[in-house]
Amino acid sequence: MNIVVCVKQVPEVTDAELTISSDGSRILADDLEMDINEWDNYAVETAVRLKEAHGGTVTAVTMGDEDSEDVLRQALAMGADEAILIDDEDFEGSDAVGIARGLHAAIKDRPFDLLLAGVQSADNGWGQVGLVLAELLQRPYASLVVDVQVDGDRLTVQRELESNTLERVSLPLPAVLTIQSGANTPRYVSILGIRRVRNIDIEETDADDLGLDEDQIGVKSSSVQELKLSLPAMGEGAEMLTGSVEEICDQTARIIREKGGLQ
């Protein structure tokens, strides 16, 4: 089974203080650590496990700047065989459809049985690119997948719905799936593991090579005309407890006792 998996590099933001550029158009991300998008890590693991069980190859593809090579190396270290980097400024300002067009052009001529993406990217959170690709490829798809079984030329997958409920669906191959976090336990990649794959060639391509012109990608094709970022209003916000650890814990304990109805 030949599998293509889409991976994206995203900034680590949970612990970071984010600042917005003065024109409000972007966050200043220069000092942020970059990592593989959490959901894509689960997608790569899914791909590698399917390969281990059924044979075939795994190709990782990303669109990003040259630093995005890191996420491809990560995928290779996890067990992917080949990697493609789409690196071109012309893609800047693309919406989900523009990104998907680039990914589509890079993979459409490869024979594959399964295309995997993450459910969403941690930065944009569109939750779109994988399924836009499915429609561009005119393939059946399923999103929010937490389990994949191969039955001959069909897949049976479990999709996660709300409130601890799952749904089982079946679809013919070739197909597209978006993988939800928790689908498996992604293998750990050590620095040594990354070093071992440093000599694998990464195929690099750009919009020109892919036959895409500026009407199809980037700002010009994007459905977004204007964009402005802001910090969310704090609303009522929490009453922040301050003081020494001792004082804070004393206050907190009193709140828990009173509100929780403890003696």
């Binding site: 984010l18 601890n164 459905s223 005309q225 907190t252 828990i256």
Partner: protein
Amino acid sequence: MKEILVIAEHRQNELRDITFEMLTLADRTAGGNYTISTVLLGGDTTGLDGKLSGMCDRLIVMNDPALADYSADAYLAVLSRLITDRKPSITLIGHTAMGMDLGPALAVRTGIPYASDCIALELDDGQLNVERQIYGGKINTHLKLKPADTYLAGIRPGNVEPMSAGDKSTQLLDVAAPEFSEGQRRQFIEYIEAAMEDVDIAAADILVSVGRGIGKPENIPVAESFAQKIGATLSCSRPVADEGWLPKSRQVGTSGKTVRPKVYIALGISGAYQHQAGMKNAQTIIAVNTDPAAPIFNVAHYGIVGNVMAVLPELEKHF
């Protein structure tokens, strides 16, 4: 009058809250200048349509056995036709397991601009402005979409009050589903409900809830010991369950459980909306987080900026 179209969502014979939330939002966005239509697809929707009466101007009902349970292929075929024919100013779909599955392909097939996971909408002379959140809720974005005669917007669940009643005179249109040109590629098999669980976190008065900020599985017992000391139950955010540090039955949020304890203590939880949706109605929320800008402090009543592993042992001494 121009139209706002709401795609109703139901499962196992029940309309889902998101349907009524979208109706609230449609009403707000319309400001009396748009007709509000709801489209309800199903196998047999008798019993569901009554629940929508009064809440929209028009209820378009299509029944077909292939539409009984949500199915991407059938819904795509029917809805892309409906949107192309009616050209509503905007179509609203939930950013839910159904809408997230359907929206992207629906937008490509109809060729219309789609903004997913919106928290607010505005139609400015027919042009759509939306507000979204990115970077796990730490940044808001305001987007003006390019001019188009019809848009698709995915609506974040749990973000506005669901409409509970209305006094519109709802016109019922029972429409035959169009022939599906393509075959049904993806087939629905069954729903699987959550397995039996060790404890019911929804029944607890006090929840001590750990997130990824707890750092490693070896730290879980510290939270557990504290929970035991104060007679609380241990719950968690999704990554803690994903990693297998605690069982899935302990997960709070849209894909886990909704809880309303007297006290909810969030330890190292950033407060993504999928988590907030499961706990924001707790009576008292206390959050401990090293990041003063963590979105959890928006819904918490009391906040402590600090390292959970330093705070917990100290706090335990006070009981």
